[in-house]
């Protein structure tokens, strides 16, 4: 940008918390002690997104979810009554895992150790050796241990506490208000990716909560789409703060045209490279050259939305420098081959762009761990990183 040009102005429709403007410390990205505090104060006290309800559609369907940061293995199961429930995957006899498969359909679970049988409502249905247990041993009190579970728009969240201070809806607050109109129930998953980079969960997450890096990291995949005059640094067009959550709208260059195959398939449906349409639950600020919304649900879930598609990320900490990352892409059902090919283009471009995003993670972690830098220098383009650290500090202090 020339010295005479005005910088592109990001709009802030919600109040911007007082977060200061100093550099951010490196220690939270590399310190084991800090990670242990995050585990106790953040991950053990937040609603955590673990599945889509349509992953467990029918009575008897179940899915095992491992949550490394809590050390938990959970069974999400739909009972014969249609109710979705969550249980710890632990036999109340001597602690063996009761579900051995990752997913399936079963009326219940038979422990492989001594054969106790639990229904998919959690109750202990058959207690092998019952007559040998001391008098007063109550089978009714030996059901699977439930976990707090709730859903919002088909997203299944669990809470590590038996009685969370806030309901899921209260926790989501303004983020839920913003996203409620989006037709999540009409979309289906078309892709799932997974990787386990050697990097702190926030190093991984931060790579997806600013658009600034597009000018360099995505110079091959999305040239000139995220940045151009009058916005050469890919500044956000708007950003909203909803309590601990944040929503960022990326700017699109109105003159950008994708290469030929993207243009051909783009005639038959929305693609990631040409997302201009109006659609419920997106572009909350009605920004002019809007591209897509990056919606960050604290602490570790993204639900990014566009016209007819959305994609999610989960960033699951394993240790201070190892993260299990998953991405799911969902789209409205294609009506014909052309629509399907447009969706495929969105998927492939997103997937390959994410491979570019991943190129910096392990190097950044490795170099942060040298201790050469004690702080990182943060611009307004990266306001989401500042907000994240501000919220984490609050949760650690509370």
């Amino acid at each position: 940008m020339g010295a005479t040009e005005q910088p592109f102005i990001t709009k802030y429709p919600t109040a911007v918390p007082a977060m200061g403007d100093g550099p951010l410390p490196v220690a939270p990205y590399i310190s084991r002690e800090f990670f242990e505090r995050e585990r106790e104060k953040v991950f053990k006290r937040a609603w955590l997104e673990v599945a889509r309800a349509e992953d467990i559609p029918n009575p008897g369907d179940y899915r095992v979810v491992d949550i490394e940061v809590l050390g938990w293995s959970l069974i999400l199961t739909r009972g014969e009554d249609g109710q979705l429930r969550g249980f710890h995957n632990i036999c109340t006899h001597r602690g063996n895992k009761v579900a051995q498969q990752k997913a399936g359909n079963a009326r219940g679970f038979t422990c492989g150790f001594h054969g106790w049988v639990f229904g998919n409502d959690g109750e202990l249905k058959y207690m092998a050796g019952e007559e040998y247990f001391p008098p007063g041993t109550d089978r009714c009190k030996l059901g699977l241990k439930p976990v707090t579970l709730d859903t919002w728009n088909g997203f299944v969240f669990i809470h590590p506490q038996a009685e969370p201070a806030q309901t899921l809806r209260e926790f989501l607050g303004g983020m839920a208000d913003q996203l409620d109109p989006f037709p999540f129930d009409r979309c289906t998953r078309i892709a799932r990716y997974e990787a386990t980079p050697r990097a702190n969960w926030k190093v991984v997450l931060d790579a997806f909560q600013e658009a600034f890096h597009a000018i360099m990291v995505h110079r091959a995949s999305l040239p000139k789409s995220a940045a151009a005059a009058p916005n050469p640094s890919a500044a956000l067009t708007s950003a909203r703060f909803h309590g601990p959550h944040r929503s960022l709208s990326a700017w699109a260059n109105p003159d950008y045209r994708p290469p030929e195959v993207g243009m051909i398939v783009g005639k038959y449906g929305p693609t990631f490279a040409t997302a201009k349409d109006q659609f419920p639950g997106i572009n909350p600020n009605r920004d002019e050259n809007w591209w897509f919304d990056i919606n960050v649900v604290f602490p570790n879930f993204f639900c990014d939305t566009g016209p007819g598609w959305y994609f999610t990320y989960n960033f699951w900490p394993i240790s201070e420098n190892r993260t299990r990352w998953t991405m799911d892409i969902y789209q409205l059902k294609a009506e014909h081959a052309g629509g399907l090919l447009a969706q495929e283009h969105t998927k492939i471009l997103l997937r390959d762009a994410v491979l570019e995003d991943f190129s910096t993670l392990e190097a950044t972690q490795q170099m942060m761990e040298t201790g050469v830098l004690t702080h990182i220098t943060i611009s307004e383009l990266e306001i989401a990183l500042r907000h994240q650290m501000h919220i984490i500090d609050q949760w650690l202090a509370a």
Partner: protein, 109 residues
């Protein structure tokens, strides 16, 4: 290789690519892309792209959930073209340069 034609008659000139690129899953198409040379990807792209729109219009008349086998093959070939188009149009290389190793990145479908 299949004995008869794999594709609808009006796309017979793409038959030489059918055995390689009529692939039903993203995983298979990605693997084929990764194990091809850039020259092979460019050759496939040059052969198919000029009539891609014609193929889409032809396929749009068939129900997605219930396509005859040759039309299904044609759709899978077009999906492969989308998969490799970014290599030809954007990366000039089978895989993005300076990217995370693709083998470390699991594709579920």
């Amino acid at each position: 290789m299949a004995s008869g034609p794999m594709l609808p008659a009006q796309f017979a000139d793409w038959e030489p690519y059918a055995a390689t690129w009529c692939l039903a899953t993203e995983h298979a198409r990605r693997e084929q892309r990764m194990h091809s040379t850039q020259a092979q990807l460019e050759q496939f792209y040059k052969a198919v792209k000029p009539r891609l729109d014609e193929a889409i219009q032809y396929l749009n008349d068939f129900p997605l959930d219930d396509m005859p086998q040759r039309e299904r093959n044609l759709l899978n070939l077009a999906l492969s073209l989308v998969e490799i188009s970014v290599a030809v149009e954007l990366f000039f290389n089978p895989w993005p340069l300076d990217a995370y190793p693709w083998q470390e990145f699991s594709v579920a479908y």
